[in-house]
């Protein structure tokens, strides 16, 4: 611990000296009495002050929480010697706020005493937070000496983004051989009716459509059997653009993008699809496609580490490991379409034949048009350029849905679904 004298040590010493010198100068012993209240506490206080011996633990109620959740934190302090005044400051990272209690408290400890300080933290924003930067200040009885220490009791708290309401997702064009919830376009064993065809040797009797066969009986036709579509799963790659974001008032497009990506990952994994993640930006991160709850946590944990890393290096899709992008996968990009590298990479993916859909996290609400004419013109040009960019994607057969904070993700994805019902795959 680092000890330091309080400002009153110097002040009291100076006052005591002043009054004693005055007593000498004026030759009045009464002035020496004036020096007493300042000199004696100094002598006694400094002599009796001892460095405290403290032990401190930090306990978190849980290690995972959702946005807007409250998490209880306990600070346990023990001391063998009495401590007149212990000031504790728990430094909280941005994104966490004190819901109840106080992050700066003072306590008094007796002989072999233990105190537990409780507070509740409100998780304002998703992210991985290290809690445990504790600042201590101990004062002696007369407040003359202070000991200070900075403790590192780092404990990780993962705050997951709140899921958006999403009833329907964007169905992939191609499915994989494994069983899932997506009705495949191929015909085979399944539940959903697909078509009728003439009976062929080897067909099971239970698949004969007797009603249709009876109608055709007069026409001299053979038996007719039902064809069905099998339920298959799909490979879905969530492509998160982390090259650039737009920020305003504590919100950012990255924040919205992570929330949307997390929601999409959860919904696709619920359908037993294989979901992978590519975080394409200043730092490339990826997760190969996988299924189940474990994959869900892996994706969300990876998303929590998403950040905008400024980088001038040109990057294209060739740097993404091939096994991360399986053929016939649906690539669902969540991007503000602000960085040319991400824009070009998406065009490249489409050119390579990937089934691509884009959820554009609109940066427009974060941009304020300038006050003068030139700024206003620049703003309009920027909006036109963005519209042209979306048109370019649509000409390539890529659905682009613009999403901002005030609209539901479900409504936005309905636009993507509608576009994909009628869009033809363009030649790139």
């Amino acid at each position: 611990m680092t000890s330091s004298a309080s400002p009153r040590v110097t002040a009291y010493a100076a006052l005591a000296a002043l009054f004693l010198l005055s007593a000498l100068a004026v030759r009045r012993p009464e002035l020496a009495v004036l020096a007493l209240p300042f000199a004696l506490p100094l002598a006694i206080g400094l002599h009796l002050s001892r460095e405290p011996d403290l032990r401190i633990w930090l306990r978190l109620e849980r290690e995972r929480a959702l946005e807007q959740d409250e998490v209880a934190v306990e600070l346990v302090v023990t001391s063998e010697r009495p401590v007149e005044r212990l000031e504790l400051l728990l430094v909280l990272p941005d994104g966490l706020e004190v819901a109840s209690g106080a992050s700066t408290v003072s306590v008094r400890l007796g002989w072999n005493d233990e105190r537990t300080i409780e507070l509740r933290l409100l998780c304002m924003r998703w992210g991985g937070y290290e809690i445990g930067d504790i600042r201590l200040r101990v004062r002696d009885r007369l407040g003359l000496v202070a000991w200070e220490q900075q403790l590192d009791r780092k404990t990780l708290l993962r705050v997951y983004p709140l899921p958006e309401t999403l009833r329907r997702i964007v169905p992939p064009v191609a499915t994989q051989p494994s069983t899932g919830n997506e009705v495949a376009r191929q015909k085979g064993e399944g539940v959903e009716f697909a078509d009728l065809r003439d009976f062929a040797p080897g067909d099971r009797v239970r698949s004969i459509n007797w009603r249709a066969s009876a109608r055709r009986a007069g026409l001299g036709s053979e038996l007719v059997v039902n064809e069905r579509s099998p339920e298959r799963n799909a490979d879905v790659i969530l492509f998160l653009d982390t090259f650039a974001d737009a920020r305003a008032g504590g919100r950012s497009t990255l924040e919205l993008a992570v929330r949307a990506t997390s929601t999409l990952a959860s919904r696709y994994l619920e359908r037993r699809d294989r979901v992978g993640l590519v975080s394409f930006g200043g730092i490339l991160r990826w997760l190969t496609p996988g299924m189940g709850l474990t994959q869900r946590y892996r994706i969300v944990d990876a998303l929590l580490e998403s950040e905008i890393v400024f980088n001038y290096a040109w990057k294209d899709v060739s740097i993404i490991p091939a096994r991360t992008l399986p053929p016939q996968a649906l690539v669902l990009a969540v991007t503000p379409l602000l960085d040319d590298r991400a824009v070009k990479a998406l065009v490249d993916l489409r050119a390579r034949g990937y089934d691509l859909a884009i959820v554009e996290v609109s940066p427009v609400p974060f941009a304020v048009p300038g006050e003068n004419e030139v700024d206003a013109l620049a703003y309009r040009l920027w909006l036109l350029r963005r519209r042209e960019l979306r048109s370019r994607y649509e000409r390539l057969g890529v659905a682009v849905a613009s999403w901002s904070d005030d609209a539901s993700l479900d409504a936005v994805l309905e636009g993507v679904r509608a576009f994909r019902r009628h869009a033809r795959l363009a030649r790139v």
Partner: protein, 163 residues
């Protein structure tokens, strides 16, 4: 502020000569202004300055008037300590620290004990001074010892600060 105003007023009205009354009143007002500025702007060094100015009123009172041993000294000493301690307390209260229940009462009790101790010790010192033949070498010796003690305290404080 109330204690400082009371002490300043008391010391000004305690003077017999008109000029000393005015001088002490002016000094008291200055001390109040310095104290107010220190508390408002959170300037801790302003507190001892205000205390020193108020103390100087008493020094002037003793220097220019009265030859007999002044029995008001312990009260003035206690008042000066109260002004300094309450001033520092006031500054500490501005910090956003949540104190546990009973902290203020305990501190008030400690301050009261300090004031009682100062009063008692002051009376003892005055009685001792009265008992010993006052004036001359005795007072000089007391003063010299006290001054050396103060310098030693200053040195000790400086060493602590340097840790």
């Amino acid at each position: 502020m109330l204690v400082a105003a009371s002490l300043g007023g008391w010391l000004a009205l305690g003077a017999d000569e008109e000029i000393l009354v005015r001088a002490n009143a002016a000094a008291g007002l200055t001390a109040l202004l310095v104290l107010a500025a220190g508390l408002t702007l959170r300037i801790a060094p302003a507190l001892p300055v205000a205390v020193a100015i108020l103390g100087s009123e008493y020094v002037a009172l003793l220097g220019f008037e009265g030859e007999a041993l002044d029995t008001r000294a312990p009260v003035v000493a206690a008042a000066l300590l109260a002004i300094a301690e309450l001033g520092y307390w006031s500054l500490e209260l501005r910090r956003p620290v949540a104190d546990e229940a009973g902290t203020s009462l305990r501190r008030l009790g400690l301050l009261a004990a300090q004031l009682v101790g100062v009063l008692a010790l002051g009376v003892v010192v005055l009685v001792l001074v009265e008992a010993v033949a006052t004036g001359g070498p005795a007072v000089d010796l007391l003063g010299a010892v006290a001054a050396v003690g103060a310098v030693a305290l200053l040195a000790l404080a400086a060493r602590r600060t340097g840790h």
